[in-house]
């Protein structure tokens, strides 16, 4: 399926690989994707379940990064006329708003990180019917 998807993306939007040739540093993402895919396969055979799950997560992250890197600076490309594409430059709010938003984002992401650390730490370990009190 991955190969079919890569071929179809290349047919539909060949420009998506342009950023990778202009700035080769981005090739780290597809490489990471294929390594994590292979890793997930072998780790699951070896029954290293946590690492297999981490590999799966890295695969998803790297594939989405490939998409974002290929689309940059487009946010929503136009297939009617490239000049109509919505990019990060013609769609953004003004500089002041972006700066203030970033400050609030830092506060928010710190709070969210603590919340998720607490949530997943208190929910660590295996789950079965006896150890979980909450009804679902």
């Amino acid at each position: 399926m991955s190969i079919v998807a890569i071929v179809s993306v290349t047919i539909i939007t060949p420009n998506i690989w342009k950023n990778f040739s202009t700035y080769p540093v981005g090739t780290i993402f597809p490489i990471l994707g294929f390594v994590s895919l292979a890793g997930m396969f072998f780790l699951s055979i070896q029954k290293k379940d946590v690492y297999a799950f981490v590999s799966s997560s890295i695969f998803i992250g790297s594939m989405l990064s490939v998409t974002a890197y290929g689309l940059f600076p487009n946010l929503l490309p136009a297939n009617s006329d490239q000049n109509y594409s919505i990019t990060i430059y013609n769609a953004s709010t003004d500089e002041y708003g972006l700066k203030i938003g970033f400050l609030w984002w830092i506060i928010g992401i710190i709070l969210a990180s603590f919340y998720f650390l607490y949530l997943y730490r208190s929910f660590r370990g295996k789950v079965d019917k006896i150890t979980t009190d909450i009804e679902y």
Partner: protein, 211 residues
């Protein structure tokens, strides 16, 4: 600052797909792996405390788009109005599927909510892929930055392409298999492995056989 926000939004989307992705995967596999009611109880408990927190990442992405890239927000939320409403209903169906299931201890009642939960999870995984496919393929934006796409037209890539065409279906299927495998990896890792007869099926789903 624009580049920084582009990176932040990408990061937030990745966090959403990784975290809610395994919830969706568990939903897809619920009726396949969970052969008995006890198995399904364990599966749902394994995502019970975290599924709603994971979905908040998606809401945050929407909020961030609103103030960082308002033109994109206005354009995509009006152009993708129908699929967004469908996604919203599927998210609602998943939520009530989990929360209503345990209210009445009746096999028919539980069966209904389990199937709703699984059905919504399957469709949601495909729709997220279709959405990504639309972004990659491009949309018919006009000079004012607006567009309209019907749900489907001829399933071909022509200027009047619909939201669903052969390309977006392929990306939708990749999304479905990716999230199914991600969910299978979570199921092996998190709940205690004591599935009556679904264990062999589970092993087929993980390890990326569909990739």
């Amino acid at each position: 600052m624009e580049i920084l926000w582009f990176c932040i939004i990408t990061f937030m989307i990745i966090m959403y797909v990784v975290l809610d992705g395994f919830d969706i995967g568990v939903g897809i596999l619920l009726r396949i792996i969970g052969k008995t009611e006890k198995d399904r109880d364990v599966l749902i408990k394994s995502i019970g405390p975290v599924w709603d927190g994971n979905e908040v990442w998606l809401l945050v992405v929407g909020g961030i788009l609103f103030f960082t890239f308002p033109k994109l927000y206005a354009s995509s939320f009006s152009g993708f109005y129908l699929p967004l409403i469908i996604v919203l209903w599927l998210l609602i169906a998943r939520g009530i599927g989990i929360e209503f299931r345990h209210i009445i201890d009746n096999p028919v009642w539980k069966l209904f909510w389990e199937y709703l939960f699984s059905f919504a999870s399957v469709l949601l995984s495909i729709f997220f892929g279709v959405a990504l496919g639309n972004v990659v393929r491009g949309v018919p934006l006009n000079p004012e930055g607006y567009f309209f796409e019907p749900l489907w037209t001829t399933f071909t890539i022509v200027p009047a392409a619909g939201i669903i065409d052969w390309f977006t279906i392929i990306i939708g299927m990749v999304s479905f298999f990716t999230l199914t495998s991600h969910g299978a990896n979570y199921i092996v890792m998190k709940p205690k492995a004591r599935y009556s007869s679904g264990q062999e099926t589970l092993l087929k789903f993980r390890g990326g056989v569909f990739y």
